[in-house]
């Protein structure tokens, strides 16, 4: 019986945020006919944002999902193949590398990893059981359900403040709970937050437990300075405390930082396995911007192209 020989590609790209799609654009323009496995959260974190005001070239801002749609169109124009699947397994032990999405299988001469990062949860009692019943990490998805209700946002960075401002469109009151005494968010976001009359702030505090039966009814707060606990009634808790890199597939196969980010040989995008390159939030825990991710995606494609050239492909 004949065995199916998996399709061998010059470049396989995992992920379809700004890093993955920019890598696809450059690889496609270099006639490498890249295959992009977009992943179930196709488009990455920008799909969950509203206005992107800091991507150069859009003086009036652009919606996150729209920016991603435009990037995807641009890559497709140059012949990148985009599949609406995510890799479920990779084998980097021999080349060409093995890449699987469920039952489907490919071989990759080079691999660009741009799987990004996913929202981090608090890991407190009640959070998991009440997820989808008032506990959420996506304001643009779920804010609608809490029109005229009180809402809690946990976090103090840009994304927390952006979510809080967005949620103020729906909620009567939005309380931002932050474990420090001041926001980490950029000055412009802070100014907007403090100007918004619906926003309130609880400083130096963490949420210890989410309480409720069929849906969220309150959260238990603990002041980290005084140790005092209190209960804050709320219909919803949105968590915006940062992200963890999506690198489970590569555990034991690629060098990582202790927190799971892929290690690359800066300023290149080379990982610890020759022929495997990484770009965007899966590597970068410092800048984490759409435009820096796009820049790294470009570098990864060029690195892959040069690697293939050096190998004589």
């Amino acid at each position: 019986m004949e065995r199916d020989v998996p399709d061998t590609r010059s470049v396989v790209i995992l992920g379809s945020g700004p890093a993955g799609l920019t890598a696809a654009l450059y690889a496609a323009r270099a006639n490498l006919e890249p295959l992009v496995l977009k992943g179930i959260d196709a488009g990455g974190q920008l799909m969950l944002t509203t206005d992107v005001e800091n991507y150069p070239g859009f003086p009036d801002g652009i919606l996150g999902p729209e920016l991603m749609e435009q990037m995807e169109k641009q890559t497709a124009r140059f012949g990148a193949e985009l599949l609406h699947q995510g890799a479920t397994r990779v084998d980097l032990s021999e080349r060409p590398f093995g890449v699987w999405a469920g039952d489907e299988e490919w071989r990759a001469r080079t691999l660009v990893i741009a799987t990004g990062a996913s929202a981090r949860w608090l890991g407190i009692p009640g959070e998991d059981t009440l997820r989808g019943r008032g506990v959420s990490s996506c304001a643009t998805c779920d804010g609608f359900f809490f029109r005229g209700r009180d809402i809690v946002v946990v976090g103090g960075g840009d994304s927390a403040v952006e979510e809080a401002i967005f949620l103020a469109r729906f909620g009567t009151k939005v309380t931002v709970v932050h474990r420090r005494g001041e926001l980490r968010a950029s000055k412009i976001m802070q100014d907007r937050a403090f100007a918004n009359e619906k926003l309130e702030f609880v400083w130096d505090s963490v949420v210890e437990e989410v309480l409720g039966g069929d849906s969220v009814e309150s959260v238990r707060l603990r002041n980290v300075k005084t140790g005092d606990t209190s209960e804050l009634p709320t219909a919803a808790m949105f968590v915006a405390i940062g992200h963890d890199p999506n690198t489970e597939l590569f555990t034991g196969q690629l060098a990582m930082t202790p927190t799971g980010y892929l290690v690359v040989e800066e300023p290149s995008t080379r990982t610890s396995a020759p022929g495997v390159f990484a770009a965007g939030d899966v590597v970068d825990f410092t800048y984490r911007q759409a435009v820096t991710a796009a820049g790294m995606g470009c570098k990864a494609a060029i690195d892959a192209e040069r690697f293939l050239e050096a190998e004589g492909h």
């Binding site: 959260d41 999902p65 609406h84 989808g132 998805c141 359900f145």
Partner: protein
Amino acid sequence: MANIGDVNDQDFQSKVLGADKPVLVDFWAEWCVPCHMVSPVVEEIAQEKGDALSVAKLNVDDNPEVTKKFGVMSIPTLILFVGGEERARVVGARGKDAILREIEPQFAA
């Protein structure tokens, strides 16, 4: 046949709760980006499992009654109804394998 299409507050009782076959309902909205990722997956499930299962879509914007009745507060949410009762619920954008793992034990013969 396995895809019932859109259901609403008015016909939810007859088309979903009163259905002979299990029905997987996709709670969604136009503005919900992750919902647009899940819908094609649900359609695939309808094609593959059409003998045992129907699928339907409910727009939460237009149908607040059913949305509220089943306590949907996050979309996308998929709920599997068997004999008029909720048997499984999948919240958030998930892949086909993950969805089937949750719902299949509830309707497979």
